[in-house]
Amino acid sequence: MTEAVTYAYAVARDDDGTLATELSGLSGVADAPVRLVRAGRNDGVVVAVSPVPAPDFREEALHAHLEDMEWLEAIARAHHRVIEAIAAHGTVLPLRLATVYLDEERVRLMLDDSREEFADRLAELAGLEEWGVKIYVEDAPGTEDPAAPSTGADLSPGRAYLSHRKAQRHAREDAYRAAQRVARDVAATARRQAVARAQHRPQQGELARGPGENVVNDAYLVPRPAAHNFRAAVLRTAEEAPGVRVEATGPWAPYSFAASLEAEPAKKVTP
């Protein structure tokens, strides 16, 4: 049998053993079973872990693997699957991707040291869910045909081209301004309904699905009962903003807030 190390997914509570039951049969990272590690003095705070093959998860190998897109996607989706399963049961405190211990005993020692802090954070996150809000500036219409004479035939081809370009540029500037308005409206909505905000880098590159340019990529922590209204209000902000699109994703486990809830309260809704 291959030597194993311990992959840790998340901290959660399992006061009555039902979480352990629900996770049995779930396949985690590297198709490994998911187990719960309990603290020495069991107070219900647990860490969800899987035994994973050491050769793949030792430091050097992991470095290389994480730059392999296919591998990264597989581990990311497996990690997420476990987080979702725990979230369906109760509050979850996700750990950063690829948190790997030598064995379960090391995880137990870590849990013994930190369980009060974990319990506090779990209590703070109870009843809250994360929603992603992305704002896009859509591509200006007509970009595919810059040479089209836009106005009367009295313009020379050169002038027609310049005039068309100018119109395009103005449309784009308008769209950026509209996107700023939408961002302000989203922030105002969030002040009423969300308890925290985290900002991610705008998405770009081949994995970004677009269409259009992503200009805002935020996450909000929203009380579950308010989530439906929050989402609807966020989507409404773009209704009268031509050239701007808003997407809401969620609900997510509180990935973007697991670490920063008390460390960075300043992140809460800034202009």
Partner: protein
């Protein structure tokens, strides 16, 4: 900028119905979550996450797995307009 090509529905993964967009997931998994320090095999601080996420989010999805829209790179030229 992108041309008017439809960004063809990504044909990745056998279960398109349940798929969360990978990029949304990576935003959260590579920059979110509790970072533990101490007795780890791997301290996450040791990983050059900037490099990982640059590779993951910006540079490449792997040559052997070209996206259907690779011919349509959004060129962010600095002299647009």
């Amino acid at each position: 900028m992108r041309t008017a090509h439809e960004p063809a529905a990504p044909a990745e993964g056998p279960l398109p119905d349940r798929q969360v967009a990978l990029i949304d997931l990576l935003d959260r998994l590579l920059s979110g979550g509790v970072v533990l320090t101490g007795d780890l095999v791997l301290s996450i601080a040791d990983i050059d996450l900037v490099r990982v996420s640059l590779n993951a989010l910006i540079a490449s999805i792997g040559e052997q797995n070209p996206a259907p829209w690779t011919a349509d790179l959004p060129v962010r030229d600095g002299h647009e307009g």
